[in-house]
């Protein structure tokens, strides 16, 4: 069990989501609706100028979000 979160995932690496940290608060629902659900495969595919926000492929969708928000997304195993 690692404690890696999505904001630290290197660009081009794929990992699977372990869950949403309780720190996400009311945003947890929306993150799950956008696809950040247990078992979903994620990959950081783009970074905005200055490295933030990031664009993340989640299964068939691409979601743009700030790193601070990506910090609430827990990863299982970086593959």
């Amino acid at each position: 069990m690692t404690n890696q979160t999505l904001d630290t995932l290197a660009a081009g690496r794929t990992a699977s989501v372990a869950g949403i940290a309780p720190s996400a608060g009311p945003l947890a629902h929306r993150l799950i609706e956008l696809g950040f659900d247990e078992g979903a495969l994620v990959e950081v595919i783009h970074q905005a100028p200055l490295g933030d926000p990031i664009a993340v492929r989640v299964d068939g969708s691409v979601v743009a979000l700030r790193r601070a928000l990506a910090h609430h997304i827990l990863l299982a195993d970086a593959a």
Binding site: I45, H46, A48, D52, S61, V62, R66
Partner: protein, 632 residues
């Protein structure tokens, strides 16, 4: 109200026109499908109390039954995160004031991203309203090599599923036939459902993924093309450069492409004035037609080509999926003044008009972010300011090249737009540290695949917006210019009086009262007179000046407003006038929308105060700087 008509025709009430709601995930191509089904016959209105746009159309089903098709805002789930989503949920539950509960629901899903879109579909199906699903973008799925079994999907969901390609109008007849079969025959309105327990999003997600997997016959290479494009368009260095070039091209195009059609409209108006002059004898009525109606309304209508070009650019950027990328690229910059990348879209829409821009802020979840965005939206140069800028630039800025194809006039226009943007950024920076202080905002948006925007969607969008502009020109602007003509024409100046007609008139006397206030910032008598009517709408300033100068000119002098202005204003006054319009809150409709959006007079009055102060300072600084530089 049991009226005589109702008792005479007892069946009329029972045969109420059924309501069919179109719902879906935000990027499912819902609007495209709605446009394909309804074309230009859309009615755009507002929900009472909120400024969420209500788009509907009257539609005939294959049997001839007429239904009202309602385009509800896109949604991720029935747990609303924004005002938009709340309207969709409340309408589906029958709780939206003034709206009956839909008799049937048409869910639009994107075949290329089925698992994500099925989650919302499963949520909506729990409502118990007869439902039909459009499995849209089948052509893109096929191109990606993705193959879906829609019959199996229909069987698993227990609802009709029709494959469609909205942009090519494919599958629409089958879709409408399925809607017809799904409609209940009773004709009674479904009862509201105040008790609704939202589903667990995790459970819905699992269910959606399982179903999507079981109906997928062949996995496609989805998004490969989008990813290649994004490698360039979202590149940390190339991306922002391309965005800046696109915006610059947009503003150059607004100015140069519109030139020819504007010339045609101008000659058309001059031709009409000539006809009036040759038919009617010199009279108050002739002056009313030529100097009031034709000069006033004509000077606004002439900007229709520019407004259409600007809206066309915005519609293409939105329809292609680039707008979200722009928000992504801009987020960091927006964050530096305490805003959210999501605010970029309402702010860019505000370049067309602050009203749809302010309405678009309802998609910003955080209330403080939303308020800040509303307060700075009027600083984005809206299309109503274009007429003012265009006239002043044409009159005072020489049409010469600065650098290759870049003209000086276009450059000045670009600087004016830039001033508005920088002013907005500075205002947001101050507001976020004072009146709208709060925790740092977050940014989270789905990036749809790129697609070629459908010509029909662009044309329908332009049609609705050009119609709204012409309606304004024909009502508010015409009313105000006619009123101003009357104020400037009466009382008639006595023969041999040293004052001119306009100075002697009621308008001239009102202008005299305002003049001392604006004299320090370089404004003259005519400008002072045009400021009050311009509160109705900014472009009225041009109409007002046209009316004022047309009245003072001899009837033989048919030169346009531009020629008259360039001879009568010093350059610093013209520049101060431009600076004033960058900031001035000269639009009653915007203030009214802000009042409705923020639920009171506090924020619109605050906005009016701070913008007027900014405008006064900017105009004053510009005037005195230009005088000091010896431009006077």
């Amino acid at each position: 109200m049991t009226t005589a008509t109702e008792s005479l025709k007892p069946t009329a009430a029972a045969r109420r026109q059924p309501l069919v709601a179109v719902v879906g995930h935000p990027n499912a191509g819902k609007t495209s499908l709605f446009n394909a089904l309804s074309g230009a016959r859309q009615k755009v209105g507002n929900y009472p109390g909120v400024t969420v746009e209500r788009k509907s159309a009257d539609l005939a089903l294959p049997s001839g039954t007429r239904v009202e098709l309602l385009d509800l805002p896109g949604c991720y789930s029935l747990i609303p995160h924004s005002l938009d989503e709340a309207v969709t949920r409340d309408t589906l539950l029958g709780l939206q004031p003034g709206e009956s509960r839909p008799d049937a629901v048409l869910i639009v899903t994107d075949a290329t991203n089925l698992a994500a879109h099925l989650r919302f579909a499963l949520d909506a199906m729990r409502l118990g309203i007869p439902t039909v699903m459009a499995l849209n973008r089948m052509d893109m799925a096929a191109r990606d090599g993705l193959s879906l079994d829609s019959a199996l999907l229909s069987e698993k969901l227990g609802i009709p599923v029709i494959g469609t390609v909205a942009v090519r109008k494919r599958g629409l007849d089958e879709l409408l036939a399925a809607v017809e079969r799904a409609l209940p025959t009773s004709g009674t309105t479904p009862a509201p459902q105040p008790e609704f327990t939202p589903a667990d999003p995790r459970k819905l997600g699992r269910e959606a993924r399982a179903i999507a997997k079981s109906v997928t016959l062949a996995e496609g290479q989805s998004r490969a093309a989008s990813r290649k494009l994004d490698a360039v368009l979202l590149h940390p260095v190339a991306g922002p450069i391309i965005l800046a070039l696109l915006l610059f091209l947009m503003f150059q195009a607004v100015f140069s492409w519109a030139e020819a059609p504007m010339g045609w409209i101008e000659s058309g108006i001059a031709w009409a004035q000539g006809i009036v002059s040759s038919i009617l004898p010199d009279s108050v009525f002739r002056s009313f037609l030529n100097d009031g109606l034709l000069a006033g309304v004509g000077s606004v209508i002439v900007f229709l080509p520019q407004i259409i070009i600007l809206f066309a650019f915005i519609l293409v950027l939105e329809g292609s999926g680039y707008m979200v990328r722009a928000a992504f690229l801009m987020d960091r910059l927006m964050a530096s003044v305490g805003l959210n990348g999501a605010a970029f879209i309402p702010l860019l829409s505000s370049f067309a008009c602050a009203i749809p821009g302010i309405m678009a802020t309802r998609s910003i979840p955080d209330a403080r972010d939303r308020l800040t965005t509303i307060l700075i939206a009027p600083l984005m140069t809206c299309s109503a300011r274009l007429p003012v800028y265009a006239v002043i630039i044409a009159a005072f800025i020489p049409a010469r090249s600065v650098f290759g194809p870049v003209g000086l006039q276009g450059l000045v226009l670009f600087i004016l737009y830039l001033s508005g943007i920088l002013g907005a950024m500075a205002a947001a920076f101050v507001l976020k540290r004072t009146v709208t202080k709060g925790p740092p905002p977050s940014f989270m948006m789905e990036m749809p695949s790129y697609q070629l925007p459908a010509l029909r969607d662009i044309l329908v969008g332009l049609w609705l917006r050009a119609g709204a502009f012409l309606k304004r020109a024909g009502t508010i602007i015409m009313g105000v210019t006619v009123a101003l003509w009357a104020l400037a024409s009466f009382p008639a100046v006595p023969e041999g009086h040293p004052q001119s007609q306009v100075e002697y008139s009621i308008a001239g006397r009102i202008g005299n009262a305002i003049e001392p206030l604006v004299r320090p910032i370089g404004f003259n008598h005519e400008i002072a007179m045009s400021l009050l009517p311009a509160m109705a709408a900014r472009e009225v300033a041009v109409a007002a000046l046209a009316t004022i100068y047309a009245l003072d000119a001899d009837d033989e002098d048919t030169s346009g407003l531009i020629e008259r202005l360039s001879g009568s204003w010093p350059l610093p006054t013209a520049l101060a006038f431009l600076a004033w319009f960058v900031f001035a809150p000269q639009c009653l409709s915007t203030l009214a929308v802000v009042r409705r959006e923020t639920g009171g007079w506090k924020w619109p009055l605050f906005m009016f105060g701070y913008l007027t102060a900014l405008a006064y300072i900017a105009a004053g600084v510009t005037y005195h700087a230009a005088m000091a530089l010896g431009l006077g």
